[in-house]
């Protein structure tokens, strides 16, 4: 082991551990570790540390380990496939990463990585005890392992130089969330080591590397949420990228740490980035974490899936129905199907003694039973309804009334001849019928059209015509004032084979001169970050007049693009 004239200022967490583990693998040890031990109850209030006895310090260190490494420990235990995927992505730039990641979180002890490990009770970098400890140690070259801005008094410690590594290519990428910003702005991660200053990432540069584009290939199944992916990134990937640059380029045997010289940055270049908004972060994460294409979920066991088991409760009122649905919702593994069961329960409760409404729902449910038995493709309603209808007392996965209000559809379609593509159960068309002059709505699934017709008969809206057909086969004269394409330009059930360009060309062919395309996208997580291309195609045929993103209704309603575009 080569002992380096280096003090590691260890702020407990993935980064400090990654540096030490990677150094050990390269046969390197710092001469000293100054381990900051915070007291959570006081640190949270911004109070400085208090003097501690040895036992208290040990206790605080344990608490700190559990708190600062909560996410990596939990993820390593509960999501081992994510750790494997990260290791796979790192392999081209970090040799044999999986054992390093294991060492970071399995039986790790700072005492194993340096002969001198000094615990310093300090609640932040502003804590006077830190400056005192640094001064007393005589540390000169110090590796910083935390984040944020280091206060001036630390830099005033005689002879001290702090080295920091960040995952952005200096001088181009400075600031916060730099790994993700690097992916967005430059398409690949960069790593830079530099001497810290009281400013933000503006010190002299010791080493830089721009890495090849990284892709973390997620295994099949449900994509973890962005928060999980973000924590995974900073628990496993980002720390090892930094450690690799440090060991390979800064601590390399040919470098004498006492003589290290940095290259001043051209501060006129580059951008200082700040923390990402969730929708920007979602895009950056989608560059890094690659999922298999979305697909319909595998059918659930028939016992929980078939609407047939509930038919009796619509024929004759059942006191046990609500309980039965609640139990089924608890047993259901698919969150969407569980939600549909809850919606069904809610609608059933609201029936009370309304026998006319119950008869209607009995008729509609019978069609859902037929669909479950005969329709081979994806059921967008997940066992109940996809669209809601306030007039019919149906709660769907999408909130029809809120959708109409958010987009101001009644106002938009007043007195117009309208085509709705892929109308599902037709509840949207039926709700818009009082405003429109006439609506033609088609859908490939005959069971959904049967439901639409039952609902139409019940509501008495005779200015709507429902048709069972594929878009490819639909023909109509005269052309329409408005063509509604609501989350239909892609289907992920294989119902249509046409390209996106063919789809919008067909929309265009059905819109009269001067008419409009009224468009709603899929949810952002399904649309991916390819909407720019979809928009390009739309703009080939139409001129965009309104482009909006609304927050309304259910989680499936939120964040969709809404466009009103005039036919070219």
């Amino acid at each position: 082991m080569r002992v380096l004239p280096l003090t590691v200022l260890a702020w407990e967490g993935p980064q400090a551990r990654a540096y030490l583990v990677r150094m050990a693998r390269a046969g390197l040890r710092p001469e000293r570790i100054l381990l900051l031990v915070s007291e959570p109850s006081r640190a949270g209030k911004g109070l400085p540390s208090r003097p501690h006895g040895r036992l208290m310090l040990q206790f605080a260190e344990r608490l700190q380990d559990a708190a600062h490494n909560y996410h990596p420990y939990r993820l390593a235990q509960q999501r081992p496939e994510l750790v494997r995927a990260i290791a796979g992505a790192l392999a081209p730039v970090v040799p044999d990463p999986l054992p390093l990641l294991r060492e970071m979180y399995e039986g790790f002890s700072f005492d194993r990585y340096a002969d001198v490990v000094t615990r310093v009770a300090a609640n932040s970098y502003k804590d006077p005890s830190l400056v005192a400890a640094l001064s007393a140690s005589g540390a000169q070259t110090v590796l910083f392992t935390g984040g944020g801005i280091v206060p001036r008094p630390v830099f005033d410690v005689p002879g001290i130089r702090l080295i920091h590594v960040h995952t952005g290519l200096l001088p181009f990428v400075r600031g916060a969330d730099v790994l993700l910003w690097s992916l967005l702005a430059r398409g690949r991660p960069g790593v830079s080591a530099f001497f810290m200053t009281p400013g933000l990432d503006d010190g002299a540069v010791l080493a830089v590397r721009e890495l090849p584009p990284l892709r973390v290939r997620l295994e099949g199944g449900r994509r973890p949420d962005d928060e999980t992916l973000y924590r995974t990134l900073f628990s496993f990937l980002d720390p090892l990228l930094r450690a690799e640059l440090l060991v390979a380029d800064v601590l390399a045997p040919q470098h004498d740490l006492r003589q290290l010289r940095g290259e001043p940055q051209d501060l006129k270049q580059g951008v200082t980035y700040h923390f990402m908004h969730p929708s920007v972060r979602q895009r950056a994460l989608s560059v890094l974490f690659v999922s298999p294409p979305p697909r319909a979920e595998a059918p659930a066991p028939a016992a929980t899936r078939s609407p047939a088991k509930y038919q009796g409760a619509y024929e004759r009122r059942s006191a046990l129905m609500a309980l039965r649905l609640r139990i089924d919702a608890l047993r259901e593994r698919s969150p969407l199907r569980a939600l549909s069961l809850k919606n069904r329960a809610r609608d059933y409760r609201a029936l009370a003694a309304n026998s006319k409404r119950r008869a209607l729902l009995a008729e509609l449910n019978r069609e859902l039973v037929n669909q479950a038995q005969a329709w081979p493709n994806y059921d967008y309603g997940e066992g109940w309804f996809y669209q809601s209808s306030d007039e019919l007392g149906i709660t769907g996965l999408r909130d029809t009334s809120a959708r109409i209000a958010a987009y101001r559809l009644s106002e938009l379609l007043r007195g117009r001849r309208v085509l709705e593509i892929g109308c599902n159960t037709g509840f949207l068309s039926l709700a818009l019928a009082p405003a429109a002059q006439r609506i033609v709505a088609f859908e490939l699934n005959p069971h959904l059209i049967a439901i639409a017709r039952i609902a139409q008969r019940h509501l008495g809206r005779d200015n709507v015509a429902f048709e069972t057909t594929a878009f490819e086969g639909f023909r109509c004269e005269p052309l329409f004032d408005d063509v509604l394409s609501f989350a239909n330009h892609h289907t992920y059930d294989g119902n249509t084979q046409q390209s996106l360009e063919q789809y919008f060309a067909r929309c265009h062919a059905l819109t009269r001169p001067g008419g409009r395309l009224i468009f709603e996208s899929h949810p952002p997580e399904l649309e991916g970050h390819t909407f720019g291309r979809t928009l390009e195609l739309i703009e080939r045929f139409y001129t965009v007049e309104r482009s909006e993103v609304h927050d309304y209704g259910t989680f499936l309603d939120r964040g969709r693009r809404f466009l009103v575009a005039l036919r070219r």
Binding site: L184, R188, Y273, V280, S547, R561
Partner: protein, 147 residues
């Protein structure tokens, strides 16, 4: 795929934002309503917006998490501080998005990010859905254009 000229709906939106701007703050080195009004009146809008000033405003939105109507030079606080009304924040978001058109990729993405955060503070005002869609469009187009 890449940034082009502003569309007519975007120009109309900027005009509507300008019309809804609150009156100017008292004289200060940085008077936000006056700045924003001036930037929105340009052809193209925000065509000459100063990158350092926009950067300073992004910092107020992203780091300080509040935007005042007036600042002394270097974005130092003016007392008493008056926080920007939602309409002013929405208009500032419009400026950031319009200015993204001529910015290099990194700055354009950064401005879209700050615009989205400003729009959260402007939630409930009339033009937020259109501005949010515009911010997403900046992200889409810049990402699909490649680095």
């Amino acid at each position: 795929v890449g940034e082009r000229a502003l569309r007519s709906d975007q120009l109309q939106l900027l005009e509507a934002l300008r019309a809804a701007l609150p009156s100017d703050a008292p004289d200060a080195a940085i008077c936000l309503p006056r700045l924003v009004r001036g930037w929105l009146a340009e052809q193209p809008p925000a065509g000459t917006a100063d990158a350092d000033l926009l950067d300073g405003l992004c910092r107020q939105i992203d780091v300080r998490k509040k935007v005042a109507t007036a600042y002394a030079a270097g974005f130092t606080r003016v007392e008493p501080e008056t926080l920007a009304a939602p309409e002013l924040l929405a208009a500032l978001a419009g400026v950031l998005l319009a200015s993204a058109l001529s910015a290099e990729r990194g700055s354009a993405l950064k401005r879209a990010n700050s615009a989205l955060k400003a729009l959260e503070a402007a939630a409930g005002t009339r033009h937020v859905p259109a501005l949010r869609a515009w911010a997403w469009e900046v992200l889409d187009r810049r990402m699909e254009a490649g680095p």
